[in-house]
């Protein structure tokens, strides 16, 4: 997939729940804006990371509001809410993936043409089967951080990952205290 480099305004970065959580723990959400691309959130993804109170849920909700990040509506999330309102249990498995696939499909026909950079954690790239339109890219958080390091936006990709892990270990003992 080679061709002219798109203008920054024609590239959209769309993080999944995993990268948002990792970057929130690393206190590095601002890195999503470093390349100068627009940052967009899929509504179902935003719901997933804010629906229950967790160490990062309030931080992510506040970040999304403060940065006025665009939230893309999906039929998946609309139907999910309708089901909840009707008292049904729509389950949650794979709804995020379905909403992301829907967003990828919409981007395939977007005018003006937009390149969608979808950020995932490694395990989702390895296992989730998205039908990827030509103008969309599946990128891991690690690859994104290495890209930022290569461009000089950050000193060390590994350091950001270490920060997330350190904070995760700290919070995990609060959220999941060991049995006495």
């Amino acid at each position: 997939m080679t061709g002219p480099v798109p203008a920054p305004a024609d590239v959209a970065l769309l993080p999944d729940a995993g990268p948002l959580i990792t970057l929130a723990y690393a206190d590095a959400l601002e890195l999503l804006f470093s390349p100068g691309w627009s940052v967009k959130l899929v509504d179902m993804v935003l719901h997933e990371v804010t629906r229950t109170r967790t160490p990062t849920s309030e931080k992510l909700a506040a970040w999304a509001t403060r940065t006025e990040v665009t939230v893309l509506p999906t039929r998946t999330y609309t139907r999910y809410r309708e089901a909840i309102a009707a008292g049904a249990d729509p389950g949650k498995s794979n709804l995020g993936e379905l909403a992301i696939q829907e967003t990828m499909n919409d981007l395939a026909f977007a005018q003006p043409a937009t390149v969608g950079v979808f950020l995932f954690e490694d395990h989702k790239i390895a296992r989730a089967s998205f039908l990827l339109p030509d103008n969309c890219r599946k990128i891991s958080t690690r690859a994104y951080l290495m890209f930022l390091e290569g461009k000089g936006f950050i000193e060390s990709a590994a350091d950001i990952e270490r920060r997330a892990l350190r904070a995760g270990r700290e919070f995990s003992n609060i959220r999941f205290p060991a049995n006495p």
């Binding site: 997939m1 995993g18 950079v117 390895a126 890219r137 690859a143």
Partner: protein
């Protein structure tokens, strides 16, 4: 060290490089670090198994890429990516990782989108 055997394995080049730095900083050897970490893994697994707790096995399967996040979360009785991340951190298991080659391909794909 009594009752030791030699064996052959392979390890990620960058990981070994970083391990060598740790070994040097802590005045120990890669061999000692490897043994300590392997012992932690084995003893944690056995302790969990001994108390009929399948959770560590589930997390290990996820870490090794043998099971997906959705299946792991169902087995653990959790329903968020964040809780899975936290449990992995608590268990001191690494999140599943793509190969260095696959990651580099993604870095290159990003470079192709940027002139900065």
């Amino acid at each position: 060290m009594a009752n030791t055997v030699n064996f052959t394995g392979s390890v990620d080049r960058d990981l070994l490089k970083r391990a060598k730095v740790i070994a040097a900083k802590t005045d120990t050897s890669i061999n000692a670090l490897f043994n300590a970490e392997l012992r932690f893994l084995v003893e944690t697994f056995e302790a969990a198994e001994g108390s009929s707790n399948r959770n560590f096995g589930t997390l290990l399967d996820f870490s090794l890429g043998r099971t997906g996040a959705v299946e792991a979360m169902a087995a653990l009785g959790i329903d968020s990516d964040e809780d899975l991340f936290l449990l992995m951190a608590q268990a001191r298991l690494p999140m599943p990782r793509l190969s260095a080659g696959a990651t580099q391909e993604m870095v290159d794909a990003l470079k192709a989108l940027s002139t900065k």
